[in-house]
């Protein structure tokens, strides 16, 4: 039912500013689907709870919009998120909510990886979703090299059947869920990714100092 789009590689060049820390994944459809996963079936899902951590009644809510193929999102997830987690989420001071927002930086993998992550969430819980997402961001470049196999391995590492998750990526089984998130981002004027909102207010930088200052201001 789902179409698998295999388009040619699009090199996303781009100027890099002085403070740029990471580039975005070059578009590609590289990576053949693992033959031993052929025949795996997944259902199309059009609604799913939001991946979120921290108490629902936390005094501050942090919303983050990300694209799995965005290099800056990888930087945010690996450098900034762990500090947010230990400083605010684990002590229960914030409710941290994840929104998919495929720019798309990569017309294929931005969507596929998002569907894969939602497939993990659908079969486990929010904690495992974030763990899977971290695994993808940590080796993000592999999406453009052997994406399906990479997704399969990260899913297996998180205790979810890798073939099922790779199939969800291939068929974009959660595309409607992801598109709904993206629409939310559009409605809120998300200019790019990662986009961080603290209690609904857009934060002009995803750097730790800026984000933590905004959270602290709301906690005071």
């Amino acid at each position: 039912m789902r179409t698998t789009r295999r388009s040619t590689l699009i090199a996303l060049g781009g100027t890099i500013t002085l403070s740029t820390t990471a580039g975005c994944l070059g578009g590609s459809s590289n990576g053949s689907f693992p033959s031993d996963c052929d025949g795996t079936e997944v259902e199309t899902v059009n609604s799913l709870p939001r991946p979120a951590l921290g108490p629902e009644d936390a005094p501050v809510t942090v919303d983050v919009f990300e694209d799995f193929a965005c290099g800056h999102c990888a930087t945010f997830t690996t450098d900034v998120y762990p500090q947010i987690e230990s400083t605010y989420i684990e002590p229960g001071e914030i409710r941290y909510r994840y929104f998919d927002c495929p720019i798309p930086v990569d017309e294929n993998w931005s969507w596929r990886a998002a569907s894969a992550a939602r497939a993990v969430q659908d079969r486990t819980d929010a904690e495992t979703f974030f763990s899977f997402a971290k695994g993808i961001y940590e080796e993000q470049a592999r999406l453009g090299e052997d994406g399906y196999q990479f997704i399969r391995e990260v899913a297996d590492d998180n205790g979810v059947d890798g073939c099922t998750v790779a199939t969800a990526a291939k068929e974009e089984a959660y595309r409607e869920v992801v598109e709904a998130d993206k629409q939310t981002g559009d409605d809120r004027g998300v200019p790019g990714t990662p986009a961080v909102f603290v209690d609904g207010e857009f934060i002009e930088s995803y750097e730790w100092d800026t984000v933590s200052a905004a959270i602290d201001a709301q906690l005071e």
Partner: protein, 45 residues
Amino acid sequence: MDDSGPGRRDVLIATSGVLTVAGCTNSAAVESGYGTAYGDAYGSE
């Protein structure tokens, strides 16, 4: 001679307003007005 002014001004212009944090976006978003909150660096990818 006071002809060193323009050169110094050029340097100041060249080094101002560049150190902003970038993010990922697309050209369509930039053209439609998105990205202003992140400064010129947004849209670099």
